[in-house]
Symmetry: C2
Subunit: 221 residues, 2 copies
């Protein structure tokens, strides 16, 4: 039995929820408040971070470690690709979204607006919000550029690259922070992944007192 | 023929240099100044970051993607371990050092002191230096704690976890920023990895105008 400890509006947790469903794996979801740093959770992951996956007593921490674990334990369908070249391109883009995009966009918008609210730690920095809003535009253009010649971001098959990118964008979209008009190609790609059955459960998450924009769970937005 | 584009005192590049040697692979080293964002380098890696590995025309970007590529293309000797459990523990600790340690220590010391100097972008923030110097102490204690019951950080074999940790600590040690006295167990582990042939070439790197402390390349420090 798989059990995923997660935060519903965390991009790294959403990445694993989508990957699990794309692999056809069911998991029990346990909601965590990692910012409370409770002893029980720290025993599971000394880093005090979500996601954490439990698989019959085995505890796997960190979203990249979990994604690579799922690929090794359940190779089909592959979410990295079959050739070394394809797998490198997938991992390059996973790093792009989980590191570069995260640093330049997610940290400046989602962390400032949502995480500070959830953890009750101060108010958003307006300079961070301004910078994040500027940065997201060229990242959307990069997505559109990749999608011009490919069926998915890393090639002709859906991979962890799409899943990582969509996970970040989905939480930003909940906050109304994605200027889709700036890159119609990125919107087309997002509409494609958003309409997959693996994505639907995410779109049901609601945070008390913070509604997403109307287009958020509209598949033909 | 393998070619590695790198920055000599970057932890992420050092990680790959050590991994290559542990795998018994020779690579041509090309020194880069990624902060100059030259077009030729951006064509190789649009993220504008080192390390980048070229392998007979195939270009692999991002240190985690490169490490996983090396493991898939040259499985022996393994640097992740053989069981799913061992591989997950290795990846958990790689994420610990490349994300958590990096955010809490490397970014606050190395980035402030060295990267700002190399890129000629401002002077170090004294608040960052103070915070980094405080944080490194408990990370060293965590290393010492892991090493108490294990021959290496992730278990009884050398893995990418040791290599990632040592890569970060080696650049901080160059700057004289590792309070080894705070955790003798961490010093014992570092002396062990530092004495491997794969580590030696790193200890030869010198930055003009910035000498490392005397103990830096002393194997019995």
């Amino acid at each position: 039995m798989l059990r995923l400890h997660h935060v519903p509006l965390s991009p790294f947790c959403r990445k694993i929820r989508i990957a699990l469903r794309e692999k056809g794996l069911a998991a029990e979801l346990v909601e965590e408040q990692p910012w409370e740093q409770k002893e029980e959770f720290l025993r599971l992951n000394p880093a005090g971070e979500t996601p954490v996956l439990e698989d019959d007593g085995l505890v796997i921490c960190d979203s990249q470690a979990i994604a690579e674990y799922l690929e090794e334990a359940h190779p089909e369908p592959t979410l990295y690709g079959r050739s070394l070249e394809q797998r490198s391109e997938t991992r390059r883009l996973v790093a792009w979204f989980d590191s570069k995009f995260c640093r330049e966009v997610t940290d400046l918008l989602w962390r400032e607006k949502l995480l500070k609210r959830l953890a009750r730690r101060g108010t958003p920095s307006s300079e961070a919000l301004r910078q994040g809003a500027a940065n997201i535009r060229w990242h959307l253009q990069y997505i559109a550029w990749l999608f011009e010649d490919r069926r998915w971001l890393a090639g002709d098959e859906l991979t962890m690259a799409d899943i990582a990118a969509a996970a970040h964008l989905s939480v930003l979209d909940y906050l109304g922070d994605v200027p889709w008009d700036a890159a119609p190609g990125a919107r087309d790609w997002y509409a494609k992944i958003k309409s997959r059955p693996s994505f639907r459960p995410l779109l049901q998450d609601r945070l008390v007192g913070l509604k997403p924009p109307i287009h958020y769970d509209d598949l033909d937005f």
